[in-house]
């Protein structure tokens, strides 16, 4: 990664530059704010380490200028001060600085702060790309509107609820909730491998078509598994794999693709199963109208212990108001749908995804 160092003192600049090169960064230095800002405008820098006090444009001013306009991606700014004090930190934060270092600088500290910055930048890219990927897969099946946005909110509500239970306290922590929020939109990514004639068919599936449709779980799972194996540090895709693979499994073992039952089904898969069905019930689909929350609730209760893990159903009941809020928040009007040739009675049995 390429770091821009802004420092009017040539000794500091020399030390900083040598450290950063030693740490493996590419370095460009500017000795004043105006040059620095011109360099930022080239879009080549996502990490900026700037001295606070400089003649002309100060580090804080550079920071303000950077935040004052939008860039292709986030620019992480670390300000270096020669004075400590809360006032300065507050002023820096208000200007949009991400972190602070106090002189005299220590190399290890600088390295740690830069690592932290890089982590944030890479997470930003990662999260955007994951969601874009999920959206791309979904774009072939445009009837579902803001399905992915809702799904991850439902999943988060359920996971947060469960995290307070003794039974799940050790399994679900803040990171689990974050990961679930991040990766749940990938559950149907395998649909990219399903032919249009099946994926976009408005009516009921023939048994053969249903078999084809079921494959979206395995296609998605295998794709994510391959990605996990090829990239160390992509462990977060492990959960995405579990989700893609098991979100159509049912608690009583009657689901697909493998007929797992009970706790054989990863927790994230069990959570997603309920969230996915609730969303299918409460939105209009080519094969069914939109159901009110009350009806959706009843159908989910009927599936307790059969389709759904009773614990997840219980969590759903305790977070019912969250579900209602979420379903309304993303309730954008869908394009008018041609009436389907036949509407099968909608029960959880043919929901969702065929």
């Amino acid at each position: 990664m390429h770091v821009l160092v802004v420092e009017d003192d040539c000794v500091s600049a020399e030390i900083l530059g040598s450290w950063l090169r030693h740490f493996g960064y590419e370095v460009t230095t500017a000795d004043n704010g105006r040059d620095a800002f011109e360099l930022v405008r080239t879009g080549r820098f996502r990490l900026v380490v700037s001295d606070w006090e400089m003649p002309g444009m100060s580090g804080v001013e550079i920071c303000r200028q950077i935040r004052g306009r939008s860039w292709g991606s986030y620019i992480y700014v670390i300000l270096v001060t020669s004075f400590e004090g809360v006032d300065n930190v507050v002023e820096g934060l208000n200007a949009g600085a991400d972190d602070f270092l106090t002189k005299p600088l220590q190399p290890e500290e600088l390295r740690m702060r830069l690592r932290a910055g890089e982590r944030i930048l890479s997470l930003e890219s990662r999260d955007i790309i994951i969601f874009a990927l999920a959206k791309l897969a979904e774009s072939r099946d445009p009837q579902t509107g803001a399905h992915l946005e809702r799904i991850r909110e439902y999943c988060r509500a359920l996971a947060e609820e469960l995290s307070h239970w003794d039974k799940f306290r050790d399994v679900i922590d803040g990171e689990y909730v974050q990961l679930l929020y991040l990766t749940s939109p990938l559950h149907d990514i395998g649909k990219v491998g399903i032919p249009d004639r099946v994926l976009l068919k408005p009516g009921r599936f023939t048994p053969e078509e249903f078999e084809v449709m079921k494959r979206h779980t395995i296609i998605g799972g295998e794709t994510l598994n391959a990605a996990t194996q090829a990239h160390q540090g992509a462990e977060f895709l492990r959960m995405a794999y579990d989700i893609a693979m098991t979100h159509h499994e049912r608690f009583d073992g009657s689901g697909y693709p493998r007929g797992l039952r009970g706790e054989e089904i990863p927790l994230c898969g069990r959570i997603l199963a309920l969230a996915d069905v609730y969303d299918a019930l409460t939105t209009e689909r080519v094969y069914k109208p939109r159901f009110e929350h009350e009806l959706a609730r009843r159908l989910i209760l009927e599936g307790r212990g059969q389709h759904f893990d009773p614990d997840i159903v219980e969590a759903f009941l305790r977070r019912e108001s969250d579900f209602i809020t979420i379903s309304q928040r993303f309730d954008v009007a869908l394009p008018a749908i041609e009436p389907a040739n036949s509407l099968a009675p909608a029960t959880p049995a043919n929901l969702p995804g065929g």
Binding site: D9, S18, K103, P104
Partner: protein, 129 residues
């Protein structure tokens, strides 16, 4: 002992600290000291001139820059003098500055002499191996 030059420098600048911050690399130490010397030669002359002109703003700014550079070169006493001058200039109390400036100049001469000696056996020993 090959470390004697570093010992002689000890009361002028903190060699150990500088070496640590230069990641244990003597070439790097040398580069930093060279940069420091170039910059301070100029700044010190400019600072004396600014005092003659009673340009408080400029005194404060130059002293500030000298302070930062000294801290980075682990020249702690230079840093103290520069800080005192900056502080006085910011308070627009230039009265005590000439004496401080004299001390700063003396300290600077000791520093450059020490660095000149520092053409060091220690460095040759390391880089010759």
């Amino acid at each position: 002992m090959s470390f004697q030059p570093a010992d002689q420098l000890a009361d002028v600048f903190d060699m150990e600290d500088l070496l640590a911050r230069c990641l244990g690399n003597f070439d790097f130490v040398q580069r930093v000291l060279n940069k420091f010397q170039e910059r301070c030669d100029e700044d010190l002359a400019a600072l004396e001139q600014a005092m003659v002109n009673a340009d408080t703003e400029l005194v404060a700014r130059l002293a500030h820059r000298l302070k930062g550079a000294s801290a980075n070169a682990s020249a702690l006493r230079l840093r103290e003098h520069a800080a005192a001058i900056e502080d006085a200039a910011r308070r627009r109390a230039l009265g005590a500055v000439p004496q401080r400036l004299g001390e700063l100049r003396q300290e600077w001469d000791r520093f450059t002499a020490a660095v000149a000696q520092f053409e060091p056996p220690a460095i040759h020993a390391v880089s010759a191996s």
